[in-house]
């Protein structure tokens, strides 16, 4: 029959997407790739929610008078912006989407070690989101994402207990994912995939998972104590009941500072992959970059007190926390220098992911350097709780993690969906994001040094010009983020069909189909070379170029 002869070329091979179209095949799927897609859709929704709150905050701050919103509403909006972005985007963003999809494929496994636990982690995450949105709908919370006591435990009128339960539950989703990654990376590597042949993306996820496992239980305990004090007046944090308000801050930051590294380390893993692939080179100083991830993970546990220099912890405790904080700057600097050196004498191809990677290096460098300002006590006593802090962590979190997330998503988009995104649109949105980001957050450094406190609904008139600039930048940034949310879904139907390896990159994920089959590989791959083993004189092939 002639029709059967013609079809093999036209009909795509069976892959994880077209294997079954029934809704049950999605909601009960234990395929790490399908779970990653479910995370992606959920997180994209949360970005829109958290982003809308951010736009409202910036619109309010366009004028010094609090004239758009009531103070109470403003406080609830910046709280929800922080809670949604931190717990439902920054922390799970890279690991739950890109990590879930890629960790098994990159090490040559057919799935994560515990596929059902992986599905469970998604539903736990979903319950956390639903509870948070319920808390928002039932009146919201106005404590700031940091839930400082005794305000949160006694004085706030919002839905603190419900939000606390939501964050508590969401934490278990992180723990389950971290546990899955640790076991998978230890036990399920393909033959020949030794530790020092693993891509740096895997090293970063391994370090991240260790932090998640060790620190998340602490925030869970802390949140339970806040809820207990709020509901039953058990005296833990409120001095009225015999508690200690500063104890909360110690416990909270013991998790929340390492959480900063939960957000940024996987992003750093993404950047290592992008720079290597688009420079056609092994990552410069591979073992040093791998160990710097572990160093950041370990040192990151001993710096929480730098959030508390002015709370009245002892003068000498401040000194100790400050010196350890200075040490974290070193592995971060090492990574930046190694990425830059990777480009040296490479064959650099400025695709959209590479544009994002370069934007990351610039923004992360500024974010990291301004961290030194805040880690040195003599300055922090002035800059603590000002807009300088706001600008600093947005440079690290948004300029760093979010930029890497977009870069990674574009890079692996053909692998995930078998379609190319429109390249020029990608470059334009990367440029808009870079300019919009700097316009939004750079003025906030100056505002911070001037003394503008964070979480201020009203502010003195002399700071309006800088605030207006920031609001204008936020508008541009919003457009930059919306563009990929339009053209990426568009590409699913109209994008060019992607080959196995459109970038000519090294790595097991590029040796399997785009999109991969349900179990990733037809037969277990055997690894015979180190990661990023590009040959001498490697060049991007013009015919492989998609634009």
């Amino acid at each position: 029959m002639s029709s059967t002869v013609a079809t093999p070329a036209a009909e795509p091979r069976t892959n994880y997407l077209n294997v079954d179209y029934g809704w049950k095949s999605w909601v009960f799927s234990t395929d790490h790739k399908r779970i990653a897609i479910m995370y992606l859709i959920t997180i994209a929704f949360m970005i829109l929610v958290g982003g809308s709150f951010a736009i409202l905050v910036r619109l309010e701050l366009a004028t010094p008078a609090g004239d758009l919103l009531q103070s109470e509403t403003y406080n609830k909006i910046f709280t929800m912006h922080g809670v949604v972005m931190v717990f439902f985007f920054l922390i799970p963003g890279v690991p739950a989407v890109l990590g879930n999809f890629l960790v098994p494929i990159m090490i040559g496994a057919k799935d994560l070690a515990f596929p059902k636990i992986n599905l469970l982690s998604y539903y736990v995450f979903l319950v956390g989101i639903l509870l948070t949105l319920t808390a928002a709908a039932m009146g919201g919370i106005d404590t700031g994402w940091t839930f400082y006591t005794p305000y949160s435990s006694t004085y706030s009128n919002g839905q603190v207990a419900l939000a606390a339960v939501a964050v508590f539950i969401t934490g278990f989703s992180s723990i389950l994912t971290g546990l899955n990654f640790v076991v998978t990376i230890h036990k399920m590597r393909a033959p020949g995939m030794t530790w020092f042949r693993m891509p740096l993306f895997i090293w970063a996820h391994y370090a991240t998972s260790l932090i998640i496992l060790l620190s998340t239980p602490v925030v869970a305990i802390t949140i339970v104590l806040v809820a207990l004090e709020r509901l039953f007046h058990v005296g833990v944090f409120d001095p009225t009941y015999g508690g200690d308000p500063v104890l909360f801050q110690h416990m909270f930051w013991f998790y929340s500072h390492p959480a900063v590294y939960i957000m940024i380390l996987p992003a750093m893993g993404v950047i290592s992959e992008l720079i290597s692939a688009f420079s056609k080179k092994r990552v410069f100083g591979y073992p040093v970059v791998a160990f710097s991830s572990l160093a950041i993970a370990v040192i990151g546990f001993f710096v929480w007190g730098h959030h508390m220099f002015v709370t009245g912890q002892s003068t000498y405790a401040g000194v100790v926390f400050s010196v350890i904080t200075m040490l974290v700057a070193v592995p971060s600097a090492i990574k930046v220098f190694n990425w830059v050196s990777t480009m040296y004498k490479g064959d650099v191809w400025m695709t959209t992911p590479m544009c994002f990677a370069i934007a990351f290096i610039g923004l992360f460098t500024v974010g990291g350097l301004t961290g030194i300002f805040l880690g040195t006590m003599g300055l922090d006593i002035h800059m603590h709780d000002t807009y300088f802090v706001v600008a600093h962590f947005h440079y690290v979190m948004v300029g760093g993690m979010v930029t890497a997330f977009w870069g990674g998503l574009h890079f692996w988009w053909p692998k995930m969906f078998g379609r190319m995104y429109p390249e020029n649109m990608g470059r334009v949105s990367a440029a808009i994001i870079f300019i919009g980001f700097n316009m939004t957050f750079f003025p906030q450094f100056i505002l911070g040094y001037m003394g503008m406190p964070r979480r201020y609904h009203f502010y003195p008139e002399e700071w309006q010009v800088l605030n207006l600039l920031s609001t204008a930048g936020a508008t541009l940034l919003g457009i930059g983020y919306l563009l990929p949310m339009v053209y990426l879904p568009w590409s699913l139907k109209f994008g060019k069909v992607a080959s196995k390896n459109p970038w000519g990159a090294k790595g097991l994920e590029w040796e399997t189909d785009s999109p991969p089959t349900t179990f990733n590989f037809d037969k277990v791959p055997v690894v015979t070379e180190e990661a990023y083993a590009y040959p001498e004189g490697a060049r991007h092939q013009p015919e492989a170029k998609v634009v």
């Binding site: 009225t240 410069f284 009245g312 200075m326 220098f337 301004t370 003599g378 001037m450 001498e536 004189g537």
Partner: protein, 317 residues
């Protein structure tokens, strides 16, 4: 054009210039490294861009020398910055011995301030130029933070515990006072002014303001009104310890340990008398929690302190 974009707040305390110099040094270092990294990235992206006939990538695995170089250089820089900043930190956290004591009580959403001479103010703090001033601060509800950008200093104001900060103003003028720790609905309106005056103007202001009684005079009255003097008679057969000359000294407790007789101990003993009983006395004192506010406790402390100050007639031989 630059008028609309200020870069530095006023610099009006003895240590604010030191903070600014350190900040400027960090800005210079940051610009250097940012420009270095940005220049390298841009140059490499252009110089080694892929194009038909490009040479292709030269595989370089790494360099021990370079890794050591860019580990040691940042390490030395951050350690030097740490030492520099810690010097500033010790200046800002250690008040001079004879700083004037002002009392600050924070509550949602106002600052209540009392001068050593008894004047009370709300959301405004008048201080003279050239006098070291220490604020003893406590909150009646949630955590606040007393922040004066022009002085480059802030300190959290906690419930249930005193915190202190000090400064010496150098320039007359009116400066912002902010609450820097988020404290609820009207956090951004928990603001005010610090008005720095020349010494003579400050004296005039003090004379003009409703002076009221000094904190220790109020404390002395409270001491009697709250019947503290029933037991703390100062006589040998008293049921409570004598406070004369006791301030700042070690006190033996009934459990064998000892404690410094200071603000925190006095406040605790007024609110929770059972916590630490002085050796040789029975625990008879009732709690004053709920009867005395934070302002009143601060007055009592001022009074007890004056009993140990020779200049105020305390601690007579």
């Amino acid at each position: 054009m630059w008028k609309g974009i200020p870069l530095f707040p006023d610099s009006a305390s003895t240590y604010s210039d030191a903070v600014d110099y350190f900040y400027l040094a960090l800005v210079v270092i940051s610009i250097f490294f940012t420009v270095l990294v940005a220049a390298l990235v841009v140059v490499f992206a252009i110089r080694y861009r892929t194009r038909p006939g490009s040479a292709g990538a030269v595989q370089i695995h790494g360099s021990h020398g370079l890794e050591i170089f860019w580990t040691v250089v940042p390490l030395v820089i951050v350690m030097a910055l740490f030492v520099w900043s810690t010097k500033i930190w010790f200046v800002v956290t250690r008040p001079p011995a004879h700083a004037e004591q002002y009392y600050v009580t924070g509550k949602q959403w106002m600052w209540k301030i009392q001068h050593p001479t008894g004047q009370r103010e709300i959301n405004t703090l008048h201080v003279p130029v050239g006098v070291p001033i220490q604020l003893r601060m406590i909150s009646e509800d949630v955590i606040h933070s007393f922040f004066i950008p022009a002085f480059r200093v802030k300190r959290d104001v906690l419930p249930g515990r005193y915190s202190t900060m000090w400064f010496e103003a150098t320039k007359a003028g009116t400066y912002h006072l902010f609450c820097a720790e988020y404290c609820g609905t009207k956090h951004s309106q928990m603001i005010g002014s610090v008005i720095v005056m020349e010494q003579a103007d400050y004296e005039l202001w003090l004379a003009g303001a409703a002076a009221g009684e000094s904190p220790q005079a109020q404390g002395e009255k409270l001491f009697a009104a709250s019947r503290c003097d029933t037991c703390h008679t100062g006589k040998p057969d008293a049921r409570g310890p004598d406070f004369k000359g006791l301030w700042g000294k070690q006190v033996q407790l009934s459990d064998g340990s000892s404690v410094v007789f200071n603000e925190d101990y006095v406040r605790e003993s007024i609110l929770v008398p059972t916590a630490k009983t002085v050796a040789g006395f029975q625990q008879l004192m009732p709690t004053y929690a709920g009867q005395l506010g934070e302002d009143q406790i601060l007055s009592l402390i001022a009074y007890l302190k004056s009993l140990s100050d020779p200049a105020q007639g305390g601690a007579k031989p």
